[in-house]
Every structure is written in C-alpha cells, then in structure tokens.
C-alpha cells in the first residue's frame, strides 16, 4: 500500500477549508440518514409483530409503526438529498478552485517547464486528475463515513434485537469482502495484461490506419491484416480472461451472502421456537434485512480506500503543477521596452538546455536599429535557441543580451515581448474565428484594421473564400487550412500589431516561393526602420540581410554579409551553392 503523503493532505485541507461548515453539515445529514435507514427495518419488524393472526391484530401498534416508517423514510430521503447536494457543491467547487489555480500557474510557467513536459500530461493534470481528486476524495470521504456509521449502527441495532444471532451476521458477512478482494487481486494482473494487449492493438491500428496510403501504395494490406489478426487474437484471449474472472465477483459474493442469509434464517427460526428468550418474527425479518444490507458498507469501504489512495495520488500530480516554480518575476524597477532605444547586443552569451550539454557558446552580436539579421545553418544548430533567448523564453546562462545597453533581465517581460513581432515555423492557431486569431495581439482592433493586415499578408483572398469569411471558426486540429495558409494568418497577426522589431523563424517555410516574395516585399515595407531577425533555410530569402550568422553545432562559425561570406569560401558558400546541382 502506498503511503499517504502528509504534505499533500495538508494542501488538500487548504482547499477544503473554505467549505468546512458544509462538510460538517454533510456529515450530520449522513448520520441522520444512516440512522433512519437502519431504524426502518426495526419499525417494519414491529409492525409485522403486531400482526399476530386471525382476529388478533394490534391495530394501535400497527398504525403507530406504519406512520413512523413513513416519517422516518421521509426524513431519511430529505437528509440524503440535501447531503448529496452539499457534497456535490463541495466537490465541484474544490475542483473549480484547484483548476483555476492550475491554469493561472500554466500562464506563468517558464518555457523550460512547458518544453520538458508533454502537453497531454499537463492537460490531464488539470482536467482528469482534478476530477479524480475531488470526486474520489470527497465522495470517498462521505462514503467512508456513512459506511462506518452503517456498520456500527447495524451492529448496535442487531445486538439490541438479539445478541445471539448478531455474531452470525457480524462475523460472517466480511467473508464476502474477502472473496471480493481475493478475486480482485487475482484479476488485477489479467486486467494489466488486457490493457497491455489493448495498447499494442491501438498502436498497430493507429499507425496502419493513419498511413493507409503507404500500405495501399505498397499493396501491403494482407500483411497488415495478418499482423492485426495476431494482435487481435492476443487481445481477445486477454480480454476473455479479465472479463470472466472479474465477473465471478458478483456471483461469489452473492453466494456468500445467501449462505449467511440461510444461516440467519436457521438460527433465527430455531431461537424463535426455543424456550428461553424467543425472538419475534418481526425481529427475525429485521435481521434478515440487516444481513442483506450489512455486506454493502464493507464492499464500499474497501472500494473507498483504493479510491482515496488514487485521489491522493492525483492530488499530488496536480499540486506538483500548481507548485512548480513560476518564471522569475520582473524586477521592481524594471524598465519598459517602449521607453528605450532599439540597438540590440548579445555579449558573450552562453546557454544550454540541459546542464553539461552546452549549446550556445560565446555568442557576440551587435545589431543597430533597422538592421536585418539572418541566421542560417543546418537543422539543430541552435538557430531557434537564439530566438528563445531574444524573447526571454529562456534566460542566458552567462553573458547578457542588452537593448540600448540595458540587460533584458531589467526590462519587463511583457514590454520586451511586445517589442517583437514573432512568426514561427510551427504555426499556432487558437480555436476561434479568423478575425479573433488575427487580432490576437491587439484585441480591440477594428474589422478594417484586421482586413488591412490580412491583405498585406496575402491572406485576404483565401479568407474571403472560407465559409463564413473572417467569422469562420478555425483551429489547429480540425481545420481545412493548409500549413502555408496558417503561416499567412500568423504573419497577418504581426502585420496588425506592428511592433518595432521582428522575429521570423522559418516563417515562410510552407509558403510557395512566389507568395513568399510578395510577403517579403510587404515585410520590407514593414522592416524599413524595424530591426529584424530572420531564420531561414532558403538562402535566397536572406541574402540581402545586413548580417548573416552562419551557425553550426551551437556556434556562430561565420558572420558577415552575403558577399563577404561567399568571398570567404567557407561553410556558407558550400550551403549556398548546394542549391544548384
């Protein structure tokens, strides 16, 4: 059994503290409900005892007990309903609070966290883990509480009615629990085997269905089918074992309960006719009723314990996210980028994503206002890293990046980033309308401004052709937009907000060369008087730059204008000439 982490429990209590009065109310109501539910069989038993035979009915007692049953049942129903609502309120609001905190954290997480965790993992912490945590914990807690109360209450009632039969029920009933947990333990491995088989099958389905074009092109359908059949057989075998053996649980526990029922009937009936202190028929009925009910809380509690452990584990995962280190906050006296000049310099910059595996080393660069800087080199050479540093998505390990001689760590992050218009190769489209996507950096923009930006990004004509024009809802996942069209939209975003400097990281890689030229002209209009950084593997795109940085393995190996670099007969020239075979 996994140990419950005290720290986590304390954190959980912080979230539930606000709801303490509600929790107390819920517990009180559960108590009332349990007591009522247990009392009803007693009342029914007394009612039955009032029926003694022909012309021998104690109508006073009968009526009294029948009335009591209805009142008690009403009280039980009412308290159960209110308790249910109170529990829901607590659970749903705690999840809401936790999720809001988690989301606030996400918006302030350093990029290093985001880059090193899969988005699926983080999303499942916010959505699934939060759900499991609150429901498991609060529902589990109340179930645990009512379970214990039911067990204690049943014992008390039974002892009052007949101390002699009580042990039969009290001691034998937990047997069904043993049977259930025995089966569960035995089947656990079968379920693991089933989910492993399912995983293999899903993986096979994923790749063969998604790549059906290749399979068809190679006429490999029969091969795929026979591979599938093999995995399918394996899954069916594992599934049958898991389903069958786990489905034994219910019949077996029912069997144990039936045996106890028979035992109670036997001993009860015998003691009803034995001389000393015979129990009444009504009491026996109540007992039979209890023996049927008594197993339930045990089963529930055993389920609750696993659920509680699970929910604590989920809580740990979501707290891990909530407590992750945020970005270092801006310095108190941090300056605003808009208030300072535009010259950018990199001084002895060193950086690595993982300590010990240095990437950028000793990088120096001076960029005057209005210059165009190109960064070229083979994939994985660190081009994009330079951009991560300029935007302060990551901070340098040593050295400094300065704007107007002010270290960018002394500039507010938001103003620093607002100073760059960034377009990346990996486009990102928010699930929203086209207009909202273009206006991402300028939420108040008018429709005219948006259209003007789209026109200068050469996106207007395809947007017009979308079903609802600028009001068409688009997204990254379900969208008929091509990669090139997505890039045009991202460029339109920047065209709209017109920041003083530009960062274009392979921003036109999926756009055909002719449109690229048109866009480049539009950019040229924009970049006049704007500093720009351009990462590109199409060297034609960058040859007019004021400075070209040629990077290889994290280092700038050559630096200069196109003409200078060609004259050097170095790596750049080799790259450049490789365009022509």
């Amino acid at each position: 059994m996994k140990k419950i982490n005290r720290g986590t429990v304390a954190k959980i209590l912080r979230y539930t503290r606000r709801y303490n009065p509600l929790i107390v109310l819920s517990l009180l109501l559960s108590l009332v409900c349990v007591a009522c539910n247990l009392y009803i069989p007693v009342l029914a038993g007394r009612g039955i005892d009032a029926i003694k035979g022909i012309n021998n009915i104690d109508y006073d007692t009968l009526l009294y007990n029948i009335g009591a049953i209805i009142i008690t049942a009403a009280l039980s129903a009412l308290s159960q309903w209110i308790a249910g609502n109170v529990n829901n309120t607590i659970a749903f609001r705690v999840v809401r609070d936790v999720r809001n905190d988690a989301m606030k954290k996400i918006s302030s997480l350093p990029l290093s966290y985001i880059d090193s965790h899969t988005s699926g993992d983080t999303v499942s912490r916010v959505i699934t883990d939060a759900d499991n945590f609150a429901e498991g914990l609060l529902m589990g807690f109340t179930q645990f509480f009512t379970g214990i109360m039911t067990i204690l209450g049943t014992l008390a009632f039974m002892i009052r009615i007949s101390p002699r039969i009580t042990p039969v029920v009290a001691l034998l009933t937990p047997l069904s629990l043993f049977v259930a947990s025995f089966v569960a333990k035995k089947t656990h491995n079968m379920f693991l085997a089933q989910s492993r088989a399912r995983g293999r099958q899903t993986a096979h389905i994923d790749e063969t269905v998604a790549n059906h074009n290749v399979i068809a092109a190679y006429g490999a359908q029969e091969k795929a089918i026979s591979e599938f059949d093999e995995i399918n057989d394996e899954f069916a075998r594992a599934s049958l074992r898991a389903i069958f053996f786990s489905s034994i649980t219910n019949p077996s526990t029912r069997f144990v309960n039936n045996m106890i029922y028979a035992g109670v009937a036997l001993i009860g009936a015998l003691s009803a006719i034995s001389g000393s202190s015979p129990i009444t028929i009504g009491a026996l009925t109540a007992f039979l009723n209890y023996s049927g009910q008594y197993a339930k809380p045990f089963n529930e509690i055993s389920g609750v314990i696993t659920e509680l452990q699970n929910s604590i584990a989920c809580a740990e995962r979501i707290f891990e996210l909530i407590e992750a280190d945020s970005d270092i906050p801006d310095k108190e006296n941090a300056v605003n980028r808009a208030d300072i000049g535009d010259d950018i310099s990199l001084e002895n910059v060193e950086f690595s994503y993982t300590p010990g595996r240095e990437l950028i080393k000793n990088l120096n660069l001076d960029v005057k206002h209005g210059e165009q800087i190109a960064i070229v080199g083979p994939t994985g050479c660190g081009k994009t890293t330079v951009i991560n540093l300029l935007m302060r998505f990551y901070d340098v390990d040593s050295g400094a990046i300065k704007i107007d001689n002010i270290d960018i760590r002394d500039i507010t992050r938001s103003s620093l980033r607002a100073g760059y218009g960034m377009v990346l190769q990996e486009t990102w489209i928010k699930t929203a309308t086209v207009a909202e996507n273009i206006a991402l950096g300028k939420p108040g923009a008018t429709r005219e401004e948006i259209i003007a930006a789209a026109k200068s990004a050469y996106a207007h004509s395809f947007i017009k052709r979308l079903p609802d024009g600028y009001d068409t809802v688009i997204s990254d996942e379900i969208s008929s937009l091509s990669q090139g069209q997505k890039q045009l939209l991202c460029i339109a975003r920047v065209m709209l907000s017109l920041p003083p400097a530009l960062i274009l990281d392979e921003a036109t890689s999926s756009i055909d060369t002719r449109t690229e030229i048109k866009i480049r002209n539009a950019f040229a209009g924009m970049t006049k008087g704007r500093t720009s950084f351009i990462v590109a593997h199409r060297l034609s795109t960058v040859r007019n730059s004021d400075k070209i940085l040629v990077m290889k393995d994290g280092r700038v190996i050559e630096q200069g204008t196109h003409t200078e670099l060609i004259a050097k007969h170095g790596f750049y020239e080799k790259l450049y000439n490789s365009r022509i075979s």
Binding site: N55, N85, F92, I106, N211, F235, S247, G421
Partner: protein, 572 residues
C-alpha cells in the same frame, strides 16, 4: 445492424444459454422469500424443527446451484462477447484496409481508429452486459410481481402501483440527466481545449502578452462547467432518496394491507414477510436495469457506426475505355479531378504523354494540385473526367494490385512503422536481401546514419519513426521505394526536409537507377530542372515543357525560378 448479428454465428448456443442460466439463478432468488415464509408459517408457528432444518438446507442448495449457473452464464456471455467482437474487429479492419482513398478521407482517420478501438470496446461491453443482465433484471422485477400475486393478489396491487412509479422516477431522472451530462462533457472538452491551447500556444500567447487573458478565459469556462455540474447534480441526487421513499411507503402500505388480510384469515404472517422481501428485491433490480440501459444506448450508437462502416461498398472503378497504341508509356488525356465535397476542380483538362525512360518534374504553388496529379497516376483516386493510359491500357482496367506492384510511391509525409529499418524497407518486397537494402539506403543517402545506429539495418524504428529526424525519415521512405521491384518511381516532394546538398546527391543516385519513368514533385526548380519534361501546375492547369522552354515562355515558371535563384545568370 443485421449484418452485425451474423457475426454471432457459432455463438448461438452460448447466447441462448447465458441469459437462460441467469434466469434460472434469478428464479432461485425469487424462491427464497417463499421458503422463508414457510419457515415462519410452518416452522416457527408450528414449532417444527424438521421444517426449519429442511428449508434452511433448501436455501443453501439453492445458493450453491445458483452460483454454478451464474458462473457458467458469466463464462458463456464473456466468451460470446469477446469472440463476437474479435470477428467484428477483423471484418472492420479488413474493410478499412481496402477502403478507397476517397472513402478513407470521408470517414477520417481518427473516426476510423475510433471505430476499431473505443466503439469496439463499447460493443463488447454492451454484448456482455446484455447477455448477462438485460433479461435478468426485468425478469426479477416481473417475477417478483408474479410471486407477489401468487402470495396474495390483493396485496400485490401495491406492486402494480409501486413498479410503474419507481420506473418513472428512475427512467425520468435518467432522461433528464443524459442530455445534461452531454452538455457537461462538452463544457469539460471546451475547458480542456483552452488548457491545451495555453500550453501548445505558450510561445505565441506570451509573445503577444495574452497568457493572462487565456487564464481568464479558462476561469469563465470553468465557472460555467461548475454551475452545470451543480445543477445536474441536484437532479441526479434525487434518485436514491425518491426511490427509497417510494419503496418504504410501499412497505408501509403492504404491512397495513397484509394486516387486514391476516385479520380476515386470508393470508399468513409469513406471507406478509415474503411480500416485504419481494418489494426490496425490485428496487435493486430496477436501478441495475437503468444503468444497463445507459450503457446499452452507448453501445448501440457504437454498433450503428460500425455497421455503417461494414456496409460501405467498395468503390467501383468506372468502365475502362478501349486500348490505344500511340507509343506513349503513360498518357493523361484531358484529365480533370475534384475532391468530393469541394466545388472547384483541383486539376482541369490535363493532357501529356510520357515516353519510356523519361523523367518528369512537377512543380507549382502550394495547393496547385501537384500531389493530386501523382495520386491519380498511382490510382489512389479516379479522374472525374478524361482518361489515364498506362502502356496504352486505360488505368481503370488495371487492378489496384497491379498498380501497387508496378509503382513505387514515396509519400510526402514519410510513414515509418514500428519495427526495424529492415522491416520498413522490406514493405514492398518481403524477401529483400541485405544487399538490396544496403543498395537502396546508399542511393537514398541514408546508409551513413543507419550505420551509425545500434544494430545498423536491424535498428529499431519506433512508432512514427520518432527516433529518426524528419530528413532521415524522408530518406528511409525513399529507400523503401527503391527496394521495391517497380518500374515507375514517384517522389512526392520527398526531399523537402533535406538540405540542398543531400537532395542533389540523392537525385543523382536515383537517376542512375533503371526505371521506365520517374516523377519528381517538388517546390524547388533546382530539383527538377534537368528533367525531360516539366509540368507546371497553376490553378489546376498545366503548362508543359523543358526547363529552358518554360523559362523562356512561362512567366510564372520564371518567377518561381527567380525567387529561388535571384540572378538569372546564376541559374542554369
């Protein structure tokens, strides 16, 4: 739907015995209150120990035999469900493998994957539960009422009142909450989307300073979700209290009526106890039934979708035109094509011929129809208009199998399968030897990085080829096509992720190989300028010529070329 049922063939006996055995077990359970009544009326009232012993033993025997019946039933139903779904999966998978490209696009990859995974799990669960419970629960409810009638028809009137009332409450709450729960799921999905987007879009959002706004947007969605959950919770929380209330009231009425009947000497005291037990049994079974129906509605929806998939008819090829012999190896005769559902044709009246041994370059802007053209050639789609001839035969008279054998097609997005480099390369030629593979890797400029991997050509490839870079995957895909014994090679923008140097080395190596025709789709004029023919696509129309001809006559081509080689002098 009927089509699905025939997959139960061979399972008929199990499908019959499973519910039957379940009902036998249920019958035993229905007998229990009668035996208890006898213990009370004959045993206790008559102070007869013999009766008490014998009836208790009857209870034990019933329990034991019931266990045997129900475990056997569980096995039969699990086996029937698993075997049924296994067959169904096989059929569905096979169907998907032979869907045409157009049908595949229409169904969507993720839809097809769901058909084979989530839908199948749901069907398996549904079949299993149906066999086990669908008959059992109504049987117990009905049986309990019948038994109550046998005990005392007048008191059984209470059952006639209580059962419909309980059903109304249980199914009513279900009906009200199902659509609300769907709304809750939608709200969760919407919150999930915002969460995922704030992670995937973290760079862009921060660049535009929108990360706080995104968190606020989430807060609003989260609030809506919470309110929806609370409101729905208020209704679902009614289920237990209401049903318990009804049952307890019914019990009170039963005792009252029973007392009158006992008073009049019509029934015994034990009978009252039996009626009381039947009432308790009914509630449990109705709740089970309600949950079962929720599961079944889901399974039915899934089964419907799977049935639709299985009912898809294979796309028929149009009737082929007669042969023609004009010496062309491949000919496009006035070919037009439009994707179904899209208005504008992608290709309009394309005509060209290819002689044996020629190399054809295809170029044009994004979305100009380059890939569509080679897809038509490979028979992936059928032209809407016009004919494609292959050695003088209409392509419609060639089987898919024949086309797949003769054409080696390198896809735009390289698909590398889980396995080894070797198993991937041997996809089109199962008996490919190590020599074939090494030669192909060499020509595709892939030998170096494969050799560097542990185990060389037997190196493991992860799903999607994750352990290889984009450029490496492209080269593996090219090598895979080269391994195959085909006489036509199609490279659909197969070197877009390669640097110019590697790209040109690869093309050099490939052109030394012996193919009857090679088609190269590219964005770069540099990759195709030495082709025998270049097809330039512009809004679905083709201009055809050599590099020099097009450069001379075609403004668009000149522009594309110049955009890549800025000064003309540099170009050729």
């Amino acid at each position: 739907m009927k089509r699905l049922l025939r997959h139960f063939r061979g399972q008929a006996l199990r499908c019959f015995l499973a519910p039957l055995f379940k009902m036998i077990e249920a019958t035993f359970e229905l007998l229990v209150p009668l035996i208890i009544a006898q213990i009370i009326d004959l045993g206790i009232a008559g102070k007869d120990k013999e009766i008490i012993y014998s009836r208790s033993i009857q209870l034990i025997i019933l329990g034991f035999v019931g266990l045997l019946f129900s475990v056997t039933a569980q096995y039969f139903s699990a086996d029937a469900a698993v075997t049924f779904v296994k067959k169904l999966k096989h059929e569905a998978y096979k169907k998907i493998q032979y869907l045409s490209f157009a049908q595949h696009n229409e169904a969507g990859t993720s839809g097809l994957i769901t058909r084979l995974t989530g839908d199948m799990d749901s069907i398996q669960n549904g079949v299993n539960l149906t066999l086990r419970l669908l008959l059992r629960s109504p049987f117990v409810v009905f049986g309990a009422c019948v038994m109550a009638f046998r005990v005392d028809p007048v008191s059984a009137g209470v059952f006639i009142g209580a059962v419909p009332l309980l059903s109304i409450v249980i199914f009513g709450i279900m009906l009200i909450t199902i659509p609300r729960n769907r709304k809750i799921r939608e709200a969760v999905d919407s919150a999930l989307l915002t969460t995922r987007e704030s992670i995937t879009g973290s760079r862009v959002l921060r660049a535009f300073g929108r990360e706080q706004a995104q968190a606020e947007e989430f807060g609003v969605k989260n609030g809506v979700l919470t309110r929806l959950q609370e409101r729905t919770g208020r209704i679902s929380a009614l289920l237990n209290p209401l049903t318990c209330m009804i049952v307890n009231t019914a019990v009170a009425v039963l005792i009252w009526l029973g007392a009158k009947r006992v008073d009049a000497g019509i029934i015994s005291c034990g009978a009252v106890v039996a009626l009381y037990s039947y009432m308790s049994q009914i509630l449990v079974e109705l709740v089970k039934l309600a949950n079962l129906i929720i599961t079944l509605t889901k399974s039915f929806a899934c089964a419907g979708r799977v049935a639709d998939l299985l009912d898809t008819q294979p796309e028929e090829k149009p009737a082929p035109a007669g042969d023609r012999d004009n010496g062309a190896f491949i000919e496009f005769d006035n070919v037009s094509f439009a994707y179904s559902g899209a208005g504008e044709p992608v290709l309009k009246n394309i005509s060209f011929t290819v002689r044996k041994g020629e190399r054809i370059g295809i170029i044009g802007a994004t979305g100009s129809g380059k890939s569509t053209l080679v897809d038509l050639l490979a028979g992936f789609y059928n032209p809407v208009e016009g004919r494609i001839y292959f050695e003088g035969r209409d392509i419609f008279s060639c089987t898919d199998e024949e086309l797949a054998r003769r054409i080696a097609f390198v896809e735009q997005k390289p698909a590398i399968f889980k396995g080894t480099v070797k198993s991937n390369l041997a996809l089109g030629k199962e008996d490919a030897g190590e020599e074939d593979i090494r030669a192909a890797l060499g020509a595709a400029q892939a030998l170096d990085f494969v050799n560097e991997k542990e185990n060389g050509i037997n190196a493991v490839t992860e799903q999607g080829g994750r352990n290889f870079s984009g450029g490496q995957r492209q080269r593996l895909a090219v090598a895979r096509a080269l391994v195959k014994d085909a006489d036509i090679l199609i490279l659909d923008d197969a070197s877009s992720a390669l640097d110019y140097l590697t790209d040109s080395e690869m093309r050099k190596a490939v052109s030394a190989l012996d193919y009857s025709a090679v088609f190269i789709v590219s964005q770069r004029t540099g990759s195709i300028l030495d082709c025998d023919k270049i097809i330039l696509l512009e809004d679905g129309r083709a201009s055809i010529g050599t590099h020099a001809e097009l450069l001379e006559s075609n403004e668009e081509y000149r522009q594309i070329h110049l955009s890549q080689f800025e000064e003309e002098g540099e170009a050729v």
